[in-house]
Amino acid sequence: MSELINKVPTMAEMAAGNETPEVLFWVGCAGSFDDRYKKVTVAFVKILNKAGVKFAVLGTEESCTGDPARRAGNEFTFQMLAMSNIQVLDMYGVKKIVTACPHCFNTLKNEYPELGGNYEVLHHSEYLQQLIDEGRVRIEGGETFKGRKITFHDSCYLGRANGIYEAPRHVLEALDADLIEMKRSKVKGLCCGAGGGQMFKEPEPGKKDVNIERIEEAIDTGATTIAVACPFCMVMMTDGVKNKEKEDSVKVFDLAELIAQAEGL
């Protein structure tokens, strides 16, 4: 197998070469700055390269979508960020966006249109499912997942907020692993505790942290892998595993990382 070259072109470079990408990969702040989620970004980029998808990123021209500001009640900051993002996206004539962050996904898809930004927006779980269905991503050449127990933690902004429950599960089924559902899943899925700006503040006084409640449920399934599809869920689930001192036996991975592992990337 020839060594794959992983290209990460920017929109500016594409535009300079008079090229138009199939899709813009919206990396998001966690995907750009958070050490753990940067690995997800890289895994997704490798999958796109191997699948031969002509994509581009905004690089330093990307800003936060404004989701955490809006959820925390700061509409000014949200709209300032949103408006300047829309200016950049429209300048490049972006039509289609894929992102690995459900919060970015929700905001770009549902909240930018009213501010004048209209794009086709996909979450990477939907995009991966399409690539797998089209045969552009083939699960071969890497780790085998046969018999491995995986449980999927629904992200609120993917699930209840946008009704996407099946796409991430289809992606996991492609791995041929044992998919085990938690007691509360899909529409009843339990939040990781980080949404609505909670990621950026201490929880209010209570008797338990939400992510501990959730990780207990995930561990109860007997799964050795907890699959997530959201950078905030990733942080909360990973902290939960640490809190339960299960780092050795339970791993938290994003969907893209699992696919990349199965492809040997």
Binding site: T60, A69, A72, M80, E111, R160
Partner: protein, 449 residues
């Protein structure tokens, strides 16, 4: 004697009608205090949602057994109203079983069917009462949920008892009636035995005609007065959902749950700040107007639909029992948000009544006097409460509008949120990283090329 009963009945009917009208009008008035929001689009889809969720009780069947029991009470309530219509007409016209001669044997079948429903309601309400008082279903217990203390807990039990007593009245009334028919008592139109009340006849076996008439009249009056009382009571009670569930589902949100409402006033400002339009630009319409208030401090700042939600809430607590903040011990309870909103509306309604229909400032507001900052800060915006509500109430929408007020109008954000906002304003990321480093993650990959 008959004419006196007729007059009394008409007077009572008039008084009840007047009370219900007054209350309904006050409720309508307080709902219309809310901000405008267009919920009149896509009537076909709205109608179909109302049919499925309110008429068909689709979401109640998420828990099949409870759903079925609730359906029995609901169907009983709706259909027994046909009999109530006959009773009201009898009362007005001084007749007895007005429909019987027109319907013939079908009348007997119909009343039998109503009796079947009455037994269903009787049994189901008894089970519901046992669940509340003896099995102590967690989400209904004041010891666990402070918003259920006092009136709300009592309200729940009163309604169930009410329905049980009304059903007993109707069944015994029918039994006494048929015994009187057999005696050939003049006023009692022969209809024959009814499906269930025939088994109650032995109770009245040795009664004299006079005492039977007294009991039948007593049960008749008790039943209809009970229904009248209930009609007025409902407007003060959590039980108002029997009426409002229908419009409330019709006017529910059709957009994805994750979408927050835009604030157009701010869009205008931001466009000016970014130089996308100028305040003098004739195309932008009016010049920039800073709104009186950002977000919601009190009920008039919320939309009319938020306020209708509050009146529709029947305090079942499905939202609260699914709330991650609530079951990890935080102060937030979505049900309490809805109940507080209604309490505030009821207070404003009383205020308006005592001040000739005008609200006189009482120095209170929903945010602060009813709902605390700690509650709304605990929300993760996970939409579990919105998902759970059987009649499509949206507590999250209220929480987020209260947050907007706290953050933008009062500038009272937790310190770490202020840091996040500053980072977003200066670095375009919620963390303190330089925007120039945003693409560093790709360095290694790009160097490979």
């Amino acid at each position: 004697m008959a004419i006196i009963q007729q007059i009394i009945f008409l007077i009572v009917l008039g008084i009840v009608g007047w009370f219900v009208f007054k209350r309904a009008n006050l409720i309508r008035k307080t709902i219309s205090l809310g901000r405008d929001e267009d919920r009149y689009d896509q009537p076909a889809q709205r109608f179909s949602i109302m049919l499925r969720v309110a008429f068909g009780q689709k979401k109640m069947f998420d828990r099949p057994l409870i759903g079925l029991m609730h359906f029995v009470v609901y169907a009983g309530f709706l259909l027994i109203n046909i009999e109530v219509l006959e009773i009201v007409l009898d009362g007005v016209l001084g007749k007895h079983r007005l429909f019987a001669p027109f319907l013939g044997t079908f009348y007997n079948f119909l009343i039998g069917f109503f009796e079947f429903l009455a037994i269903g309601v009787l049994v189901t309400c008894s089970i519901f009462l046992i669940r509340r008082a003896i099995l102590k279903v967690e989400r209904l217990q004041p010891s666990r949920h402070r918003e259920m203390n006092g009136w709300p807990e009592l309200d729940g039990k009163i309604i169930l008892l009410f329905e049980i007593v009304l059903m007993i009245a109707i069944l015994t009334m029918n039994a006494a009636d048929t015994v009187l028919q057999e005696m050939g008592s003049p006023h009692y139109t022969p209809t024959g035995d009814f499906a269930f009340s025939q088994f109650l006849k032995p109770i009245f076996a040795n009664w004299s005609e006079n005492s039977l008439i007294i009991y039948e009249r007593f049960a008749w009056w008790f039943h209809i007065l009970g229904i009248f009382t209930f009609a007025v009571y409902v407007t003060y009670s959590k039980h108002l959902h029997i009426a409002l569930a229908f419009p409330n589902t019709y006017f529910s949100r059709l957009t994805p749950k994750g979408e927050m409402n835009n604030m157009p006033d701010i869009t205008k400002e931001v466009k000016i700040m970014l130089g996308l339009t100028t305040s003098e630009d004739p195309a932008s319409g009016t010049e920039s107007v800073i709104p009186e208030r950002f977000g919601a401090k009190d009920v008039p700042d919320l939309s009319w639909k938020n306020l209708m939600d509050a009146y529709s809430c029947t305090e079942c607590g499905r939202c609260t029992s699914a709330c991650p903040a609530n079951f990890t011990g935080k102060k937030l309870s979505p049900r309490k948000i809805m109940m507080d909103t209604r309490d505030r509306l009821e207070d404003i309604g009383r205020n308006m009544q005592t001040n000739k229909g005008e609200f006189v400032d009482d120095g209170k507001s929903l945010m602060g006097d009813y709902i605390s900052n700690e509650e709304i800060l605990a929300c993760t915006t996970c939409n579990a409460c919105v998902q759970e509500c059987p009649i499509l109430i949206n507590p999250l929408d209220i929480i987020l509008q209260l947050r907007r007020y706290k953050i933008m109008d009062e500038a009272q954000a937790p310190g770490s949120w202020n840091t996040m906002f500053q980072n977003l304003d200066t670095n375009q990321a919620p963390w303190k990283f330089s925007p120039d480093d945003r693409f560093n993650w790709a360095e290694k990959l790009r160097n490979e090329v």
